[in-house]
């Protein structure tokens, strides 16, 4: 359950409304940059009076925190489900990448807010960083298990995980909901590419191929 900042209830209706507003906010952040986008622009594009917007979010920081907290909760839930279902590490990793990208690109419409950590006040930043680190560890655990079970080649799981997360997070810099390629297509292409870079086999150095 997503916690509200100021103790307001987060009933299903309020949560749905906050998510709707988030998409308009995302568009404003993308258009103006987070620093420059103003609450009144967000209210206007969401066709809300400023008063109504302030009922759901006190300020931009609260929108940002909600965006990050909500998406990280979703991603961590998916990571926990994938872990429980077991299955081979390459399939697990593929599913986790698809889930993260669907959440970021489709549900949050590529909201740049997802990565604007530095704009959060320190207390909220710490909470988000804890969740972000937890998610990163979940992804890294799949990579490490893949290396141990030789489904993946020998590599540095920490660095490879950072490379994957970088490729995925950077999409917020160029993804456009109305662009030529849909969120699904991008997510599949990325999952193919990012998982394949880890696979054992397909090595070009002859000695290694011979050793298989």
């Amino acid at each position: 359950m997503v916690q509200s900042l100021n103790g307001r209830s987060n009933s299903a209706r309020v949560l749905r409304r906050r998510l709707e507003i988030l998409r308009f906010a995302a568009a404003a952040f993308r258009r103006e940059g987070f620093e420059r986008a103003a609450m009144r622009d967000i209210a206007q594009s969401a066709e809300l009076t400023p008063g109504a917007l302030y009922y759901y979010f006190r300020n931009k920081q609260e929108i940002l925190y909600f965006c990050q907290d909500y998406s990280l909760d979703r991603m961590i839930e998916e990571g926990a489900l994938i872990r429980r279902l077991k299955g081979p590490p390459d399939a697990q990793l593929r599913r986790l990448i698809l889930a993260q990208m669907t959440c970021m690109l489709d549900e949050l419409r590529g909201s740049a807010a997802h990565a604007e950590f530095s704009a959060l006040p320190p207390r909220l930043l710490r909470k988000v960083v804890l969740k972000r680190d937890k998610y990163e560890r979940m992804m890294r655990a799949i990579v490490s298990r893949g290396v141990r079970t030789r489904v993946f080649r020998k590599c540095d799981p920490k660095l490879v995980t950072l490379a994957m997360l970088g490729a995925i997070n950077w999409t917020i810099k160029w993804f456009r909901p109305d662009g030529a390629r849909g969120a699904d297509e991008i997510a599949r292409e990325f999952a193919d590419y990012l998982v394949r870079g880890l696979k054992s086999g397909g090595v070009t150095r002859k000695s290694k191929v011979a050793r298989r």
Copy 2:
């Protein structure tokens, strides 16, 4: 040759000095964020009087522009050299990734300034975007040639190039010059991983393996 913003000569000495200052600026941007870092902080950490700093850079935007313009020039030069030398696409791509990461992480010490496009005034932003697009096309051309010559598997070269650039550019979010892993080690691990994801062969779906 890197062009100065305001027509001052960019002699070798001035260029060297500007690069030195850039590293201190990079540290300040990393510590404070670009918006919050002040010229006087940069001057202080570079042990310069504000007057001396203003001789080399009029303002933060000029530092940012210099950083982006200089690094893109270096990367484009390297891309042109790699193209002239010909060689197989996987080796070309590996070399380009290593060159880009060495420039970003080692020479510019992981300066976050490299990616803070939105803080530039529109006229300078356009110039940087043109160079950035040129570099992206160079990388994509190598991927496309690899796909044509079947060194690389069938893929969407545009999306895969964006994934690679994302993984590389995101390093500015976590790289620390004094961290556990050096710039060289990170660059090699990334190059291995990012090139391997493109290689034909090593496919797991049985039908595709059989078809080879």
